[in-house]
Symmetry: C2
Subunit: 355 residues, 2 copies
Amino acid sequence: MKSIPEKIKIKDIAEKAGVSPGTVDRVLHNRGNVSEVSRKKVEEVLKHIDYTPNVYASALASKKSFSLLVVMPKYLSGDYWEKMEFGIARAAREIIDFRVSIEIIYFDQYKIDSFCQAMEKVLKKTPDGVLLTPSLKSVTCDFTCKLDQKKIPYVFVDSFVEEAHPLAYFGQHSHQSGYLGAKLLFTQKSDLQEIAVFSFFHVGQKPSNQISMRMAGFSEYVMEKRTGCKLHRVTLDAENPDQNEETMRNLFFGNKGIDGAIIFSSRAYVVADFLKKHNLNHITLIGYDLLDKNIVRLKDNTISYLIAQRPEEQGYKGIRALTDHLVFKKEIKPVNHYTPIDILTQENIDFYLEF
Amino acid sequence: MKSIPEKIKIKDIAEKAGVSPGTVDRVLHNRGNVSEVSRKKVEEVLKHIDYTPNVYASALASKKSFSLLVVMPKYLSGDYWEKMEFGIARAAREIIDFRVSIEIIYFDQYKIDSFCQAMEKVLKKTPDGVLLTPSLKSVTCDFTCKLDQKKIPYVFVDSFVEEAHPLAYFGQHSHQSGYLGAKLLFTQKSDLQEIAVFSFFHVGQKPSNQISMRMAGFSEYVMEKRTGCKLHRVTLDAENPDQNEETMRNLFFGNKGIDGAIIFSSRAYVVADFLKKHNLNHITLIGYDLLDKNIVRLKDNTISYLIAQRPEEQGYKGIRALTDHLVFKKEIKPVNHYTPIDILTQENIDFYLEF
DNA sequence: CTGTTAGCGCTTTCAT
DNA sequence: ATGAAAGCGCTAACAG
């Protein structure tokens, strides 16, 4: 049995130290203008008691306000990014009474220029903190350097750029999620012979950091445990569904031995829809991310497993980390907060959607 | 791009409605003592604006305080219940400034009397809300009836009693988690012949609700898809490790055909340790819950999958539901908030532990 | 019934 | 350098 003791207030400390509440406040916040003697007296009292400020009273009285900027890809409804914005919006509602305002700047993830423009906007606005989804490494680094100079804290979500110095990162350990993808694929069908390995990006572009790392993780597993397995590496293009159809036709009908497939982008449904349409249900498919269209194919068993990464939570926690740092002066734990790698199947998907 | 509009305050509403802030407050909280005319005026204004109160200012000014009681099993360090208490403690810290205090009453989950005594204590204290882990159905129902009479809201965590009327339930869909256990077992090894099915309880007692439902889910899967598979149903006893050893010896050495096993209590490590010790690594094992000892066996591959249920989150959300209801007058969604059924493997376990 | 007032715990301004 | 005082948005007690 436990109960909670009465909370100590600034007034209590002031009385014990024989100074005024104002002085205690000055000591607590290192605002200066305190004599050595007073400071000592207050600190002595603080040592012997466990004072935690009432952050709500503090926020109410404070005239400080904070502006956060979010830089993320523009998206369509049902997209992966929508979930991240849900999380950001949830955090926004929770912190509005602390005078924290959030503005979102969207960019076109397939156009470098668009990303650069977004960066410019951010720098012009000089916010108190930034949440961003890194794009091309070099451009991102240029930008974060400038933020470093201006001492504006920033948080990465979704993917991570090694060279930068973010306050924190919330996202998946992509390499490991690729490794797990391989493991699930081989568990689902232990005697796999030939596997189609899909990635998804635009012509003339490179695959995203995220996707490259998943592929690396996948390859590592295969190297370790299934060197005998034949891999067909295939690239699909977001802009060109007809060509994708053609590519998959050639692949699957030209290689009848293929009995497994994995796709490292969030658009597993593109492959799943093809398999479904052509009744290729002997092929085990693994995909990533909880898009509505993916879920349909998980439920009808075209996709065996989806691996998910809680984008909603990434957005939420990213914003919370910024406000914990700025508003509540909390120590943020060093850098990488990997979100769990969730394994979703027909049997447990509904409980993730509800929650 | 979006930005957040200025927040509306009670004072603003009062001005627009041509009444005093006091009156607006009375309308907002149905405190009575308001003329029909004033009420109409205020409600008219409220219709046209989107007012959300500053709950922090409200809590600060309010003299109301709330006491919550938690009834849960006593436990040892590293136990399943410890994690639930972590979640409760986290919630407690968050709401202390709202004048909500939490007291925990522990009972011995293997002694009905102990549970009854805990109930008595609760009724004597007449708290504002109760969080409890149901024990025997009949006893629990007796108790919740009395809470219903006194109009004290209560929340279930961990397991659920159909006949009661809780504010909410946070826990797993046990039947489905049993079903998933079966699915994973058969996926891991597609040609299973004989399966050992373990439950774990004290002599002379019945298995917990939770365990029975998992078994039912498991059986359903087998009935549906694997009627040919032979099941060995075995009960272990928490009090009697020597006898368990004996039981497992007879089982595994007397039935060499057994190539799979599942255990529906949180103590999968008991079986895992046996398999490990006797080098029975051809047997695929599935277990439940993230006990430290289970995790060791997951990591060394003795256990193939652990199915987990987020006890920390159950505790946290349970307390939050009570305070949302009591303090913030939020509508709590009807009853069942199933927590996700997490699938843990060697490859993703670390990210769950960190998070 | 209603407006006014005091005050929750804290910050910030303003004299001193 | 320091204490006193005002006020954040809201509630609750108090006159009228």
